[in-house]
């Protein structure tokens, strides 16, 4: 199976002014596409190596699969995590997710504060996640390095929201001021998507 670039559910400029159209286009058409291209290539080489029984090659390919497959997984979620304001971007979570946030973090403001602090403190490249631990039925904030998917931090973690803090996600607009990017991205956060994922994993009793 080969993977292909999923369409963005909105125009490149639709998230302005929070995230510029220039960034969205590069991020989607160049960065995400490159991960997919290299992921497909690595998978092809992996199938080859498996067929030949070349264990050394199988092992050697793992990092390329993790980098590029992880990049594909993470960005596919990311595009759904964002929405234009007129389609509900930035609208606060209601219902069961809203209550869970209050229960597990005290308030939405505190959750945002925590995620932004984690995002600013992340050294190098990576992601900040709002996750559901589906075993403990608890919300947690996690970070992953580079393109490691959330599941590398725990097999029971389900991503609800991810924020890309690689420099390519904000540099052209915010330059070195990552805190401003993190402050503004909440204006286009697609809480509807997060609520849907949450409700599916934790159906209200």
């Amino acid at each position: 199976q080969t993977f292909s670039l999923p369409d963005l559910p909105y125009d490149y400029g639709a998230l302005e002014p929070a995230i510029s159209g220039e960034i969205m286009q590069l991020h989607h058409q160049k960065h995400h596409q490159t991960y997919i291209t290299n992921y497909n290539k690595a998978l092809e080489q992996l199938n080859d190596a498996i067929e030949k029984g070349d264990s050394a090659a199988v092992v050697k390919l793992q990092s390329a699969i993790k980098f590029n497959g992880g990049g594909h997984v993470n960005h596919s979620i990311f595009w759904k995590n964002l929405a234009p304001v007129r389609e509900g971007g930035g609208e606060l979570p209601h219902g069961s997710l809203g209550w869970a946030i209050d229960a597990d973090f005290g308030s939405l403001e505190k959750l945002i504060q925590l995620m932004n602090a984690e995002g600013v403190a992340l050294q190098g490249s990576g992601w900040v996640w709002l996750a559901l631990d589906k075993e403990l039925k608890k919300l947690v904030v996690e970070t992953t390095a580079n393109q490691d998917p959330l599941v590398t931090k725990g097999p029971t973690l389900v991503p609800l929201l991810g924020i890309d803090v690689w420099e390519h996600a904000y540099y052209l607009q915010y330059k070195n001021v990552r805190p401003d990017y993190l402050k503004n991205i909440w204006k286009v956060m697609n809480w509807k998507y997060a609520s849907e994922v949450y409700a599916k994993e934790c159906p209200s009793s």
Partner: protein
């Protein structure tokens, strides 16, 4: 690449030659915040001492290959922040009195990094990086550096290929390096008895985030910053183009050659020092009486 484990002994040696000798009391990495800050008379502004030095050329001097905008942000914001934040972290501590290279190695802490490592290493890395470039750079090295490159990589072209590949495949944030590896054995009770010139090699390595080859006891000769902030304004996602431009138009081979001379001199110094210590130890051993146990003279005879 396998990082050479820096034992306490070699850590001391490394630091000895970089400055004047590190107090052996810091072997156990027991640095703590001083209980008292000594204050000079006058306005009580306490700052640690590292300075943001400007690059050795004006900020627009690398145009069109690296824009003034990039230098203004990269040096003026990113590098400045590393220096300012490092100073805040170390003021009033023992780290405040050390040269930057020593702060890097001490805070690396054999891989269990202390909080100041990120800022210290990035401060060092960026100062080094500006020195690796010059207006009208590029071309080929000459003299001994070229000789060693041809010896250790086969040809200059093969070196360039390997260096560019390392820079392009460093995933996420990081750096690619050309280093001089003095190839010392880092095991406490084993010493390379005949360190040969031929064993010392030039090697290409890559590192992630703030890590640099000082912590592996290598001598860096050349680096390229492949954090996205280094190239995004000028090249966006096109890191390979940035890397090619760096090699063809920016790299300062004079600076690399100068560093090679320093690295070789340091390696020779260290070897002399180690030989001197071994000679000393042998002298002491030779003058000690050797205990011998002879049958029938043991104090504890078994129960009769």
């Amino acid at each position: 690449m396998v990082p050479a484990a820096a034992t306490a002994a070699s850590l001391n040696c490394a630091l000895f030659h970089r400055q004047g000798g590190l107090n052996r009391a810091t072997r156990g990495l027991q640095w703590t915040k001083k209980q008292q800050c000594t204050r000079k008379p006058g306005p009580a502004i306490i700052t640690a001492k590292f300075e943001l030095k400007p690059p050795p050329y004006p900020l627009n001097a690398l145009e069109p290959h690296m824009s003034k905008d990039t230098l203004e942000y990269h040096w003026g914001k990113h590098h400045r922040a590393y220096v300012d934040n490092l100073n805040k972290q170390i003021v009033g501590t023992e780290l405040d009195s050390m040269p930057l290279e020593d702060v890097v190695i001490v805070t690396y802490n054999k891989g269990d990094m202390l909080p100041a490592f990120n800022n210290a290493a990035q401060a060092w890395n960026h100062e080094f990086f500006w020195g690796c470039m010059k207006p009208g750079g590029g071309g080929k090295p000459s003299g001994e550096l070229l000789q060693l490159i041809e010896r250790d990589f086969g040809s200059f072209e093969k070196f360039v290929e390997e260096f560019k590949s390392a820079a392009a495949t460093q995933f996420g944030s990081g750096w690619a390096w050309l280093v001089y590896k003095a190839n010392r054995l880092d095991v406490e009770n084993a010493v390379n008895p005949r360190p040969l010139e031929e064993d010392k090699k030039l090697v290409v390595v890559k590192s992630s985030n703030a890590v640099n080859p000082l912590v592996w006891d290598y001598s860096p000769l050349l680096t390229i910053d492949v954090w996205e902030h280094a190239y995004y304004l000028d090249f966006q996602n096109r890191r390979p183009d940035y890397i090619s431009t760096f090699m063809e138009k920016l790299v300062s081979w004079e600076a690399a050659s100068a560093r090679l001379e320093v690295a070789k001199a340091q390696a020779a110094e260290r070897e002399k020092e180690e030989q001197r210590k071994r000679d000393e130890a042998e002298d002491i051993q030779g003058s000690e009486a050797v205990e011998m146990y002879v049958d029938g003279e043991t104090e504890d005879s078994g129960a009769d």
